[in-house]
């Protein structure tokens, strides 16, 4: 059985499946219980599983994430929601100090099967903290996995994998495309491997690596180009990064463009370019290039179109690199 659902429904279904299959899965966060979440990602779950397993919290990100650690080392699988990624900073103390290093600190005796979900990214006409993409900040923390899906199918499979993963996963949901399109998704639970990129489209001339809400924009850009053969890689997991898939692709194409909406400097794009330089240097026919948001604060709606890489800018950049 399968149904046609969007990304936010895929989140809800993944939670529903796992709560059904595994009693140790509990879900909590701000407004997730009675209200079903501000983006409706947990709608209906409290009715199905009761307020003991899915419940509301105060606006206390530090305690939300910290308490999940205490539960996770004692047999629970907490899935906590941070309402917007920009609200996560009070919890960074817990994430850096405890979440990411508990396995190491206990020399492997304890591990944390917990998930922190957060909608991320711009393009919803909000600004600043409500629109930023700070995945690189978290990917820089050893011991923490960072996953970003771009389709309903991947969302469900990767979230279920994240819940079943013995280690902590930061699961970032591209809120701009939460409801952008629907896809056929199996109703039953299934998993997709964390740490494995997906080749969305095969090509010969240039590799474009991207993730999250930028994937459809890259696809749109590529659909306007018929004289260059573009390979599109959806990274899906920022950390641990699927270096093999990227390197193999660049060894074939000789060219790479990384597209992300986060600010450029010290971003995930820089890491990808470094990997390519280290592992595929002799295959390169053009400088590895990044097309990203700018190194500034995410602007208001009227500046948004200038900030986010658009399909037009992506297509232009692909042509530039191909012609190098």
């Amino acid at each position: 059985m399968s149904n046609k659902i969007n990304i936010v429904q895929a989140v809800q279904q993944a939670l529903y499946n796992e709560m059904t299959l595994d009693e140790t899965v509990v879900v909590y966060g701000q407004d997730v219980g009675v209200e079903g979440g501000v983006f409706r990602a947990t709608v209906g779950l409290q009715k199905a599983f009761g307020s003991e397993r899915i419940f509301d919290t105060p606006l206390s990100e530090s305690a939300i994430v910290g308490s999940a650690v205490g539960m996770a080392i004692n047999g629970f699988k907490p899935v906590v929601e941070i309402q917007f990624m920009g609200f996560i900073y009070p919890a960074v103390n817990q994430i850096v100090s405890h979440v990411s290093r508990y396995r190491n600190r206990t020399r492997g005796e304890r591990h944390l099967p917990m998930v922190i979900r957060a909608p991320y990214g711009g393009g919803i006409r909000a600004l600043e903290l409500h629109s930023e993409s700070t995945e690189a900040m978290f990917a820089h923390i050893p011991g923490l996995k960072v996953v970003i899906p771009s389709t309903p199918y991947d969302t469900k499979g990767l979230l279920i994998s994240a819940i079943r993963d013995p280690d902590p996963v930061l699961f970032l949901e591209p809120k701009r495309i939460y409801r952008a399109f629907r896809q056929k998704v199996p109703e039953d639970a299934y998993t997709l491997p964390i740490g494995k990129a997906k080749i969305v489209k095969e090509g010969e001339d240039i590799t474009v690596v991207t993730w999250g809400a930028m994937v459809p924009d890259v696809q749109k850009a590529v659909s306007t180009i018929d004289d260059i053969s573009v390979e599109i890689i959806d990274l899906r997991t920022i950390s641990p990064m699927d270096r093999e898939t990227i390197v193999e692709s660049v060894q074939k194409t000789g060219r790479i463009l990384v597209v992300h909406e986060a600010a450029k400097s010290f971003g995930a794009g820089a890491e990808i370019v470094s990997v390519v330089n280290e592992k595929a240097f002799l295959s390169l026919e053009a400088p590895p290039t990044r097309l990203t948001g700018f190194d500034t604060i995410f602007p208001l709606p009227r500046g948004e179109k200038h900030y986010l890489p658009t399909p037009e800018r992506i297509a232009k950049k692909i042509r530039e690199i191909a012609a190098y």
Binding site: Q30, D31, V34, E35, V38, D56, T57, P58, L59, S60, S62, A63, Q83, G86, F87, Y89, P90, I124, R125, A126, L127, E128, L129, H130, F294, D295, T296, I297, P299, L300, P301, R302, G303, H306, Y307
Partner: protein
């Protein structure tokens, strides 16, 4: 009930000022809501409608040449009362270059340094240590000022609230913390997620006075704040005021507010802060219905003009992305 209750105590001009400010806030925000509906304003819009008495009453106890205010993202009222023009406010919501923050702050980040309105802040509770620091500067420079730090009932559960109050007490700072308890943290009833329901009692934890104030009554807000301000300035004792209030609209424009009943909303509408003051003034012979209509008409014009000003203002240039930031 005693006759001439407010007329004996307050001067007419003072009461008119309070009334006018509340009506202007309401009309400007209604206009903003309308323009949001027309997608002139993007992102999020958090309205203050219903809570007007809190900002207006408390800020009436200030002298903003010396005093400061700092608040959350529900910040339009505080900006207007501080003296920001409705034009600059509305243009900021539109994201236009003529906005108070050049169209880069938006609804949640009103800022008017000249009028000592040190910002709306988008992250719940995160500004409380900042406000505490402003109070520190006042004390350090031996100025005669005070800081009013506003926040919602949700902020009480952030570490920053507790850290700030503790510091304010230890350093004996001239600051008044005002929790605008509108009873819902987004869609969650504060009673479901707060161990203590009388939020003003949290002052005990830091050995500072706490008091409950009717946040629907502008004069009660004024009196309570005046007392707390005097204590802060003269004795260096911070206060936690809990203004029990109510927002008529959702948390933001995208919130239909299904978590509360129509009856509850109607109950609070009956205690509307504008109607409260208006009827008291009429009762005491300080205002006629015609004069009120005149005030309302003026407020509507200010609101309409602000939208027109915003509409006709230019967008920020793309280059503005790189202005006012270190890169």
């Amino acid at each position: 009930m005693a006759e001439k209750r407010i007329a004996d105590k307050y001067d007419r001009d003072f009461l008119l000022k309070l009334l006018e400010e509340m009506v202007i806030i309401r009309r400007v925000e209604e206009k903003a809501a309308q323009m949001y509906g027309l997608q002139k304003i993007g992102g999020f819009l958090h309205l203050y409608i219903g809570q007007e008495a809190v900002a207006v009453g408390s800020m009436a106890a200030l002298d903003l040449k010396k005093d400061y205010v700092m608040t959350t993202y529900r910040d339009h009222a505080h900006a207007l009362v501080a003296g920001m023009s409705a034009d600059a406010l509305m243009a900021e919501m539109y994201g236009k270059a003529t906005g108070c923050a050049k169209g880069k702050g938006g609804s949640m980040h009103m800022f008017d340094a000249e009028n000592h309105m040190l910002g709306g802040h988008g992250i719940v509770g995160s500004h409380m240590p900042l406000a505490t620091g402003v109070a520190f500067k006042i004390k350090y420079l031996e100025e005669d000022g005070v800081v009013l730090c506003y926040f919602g009932d949700g902020a009480i559960h952030q570490g920053a609230f507790h850290e700030a109050l503790n510091l304010a007490k230890v350093w004996e700072l001239p600051i008044v913390y005002i929790v605008e308890n509108n009873q819902y943290g987004m869609g969650t009833d504060f009673r479901r997620i707060s161990a203590v329901h009388d939020l003003y009692k949290k002052g005990c934890s830091y050995d500072i006075p706490g008091a409950l104030v009717n946040g629907m009554d502008v004069l009660e807000m004024y009196e309570a704040t005046k007392e707390a301000v005097a204590r802060a300035k003269e004795e260096g004792i911070p206060t936690l005021l809990e203004a029990r209030t109510y927002r008529y609209r959702g948390h933001s424009m995208s919130d239909p507010g299904k978590y509360r009943t129509r009856e509850e909303l109607d109950e609070y509408r009956k205690q509307d802060p504008i109607l409260f003051l208006k009827s008291d003034m009429i009762h005491d012979g300080l205002l006629t219905e015609e004069e009120y209509q005149e005030i309302d008409k003026k407020a509507k014009k200010i609101a309409d003009d602000s939208a027109e000003f915003a509409e006709n203002s230019p967008d920020p240039e793309p280059e503005a992305l790189y202005e006012d930031i270190y890169v």
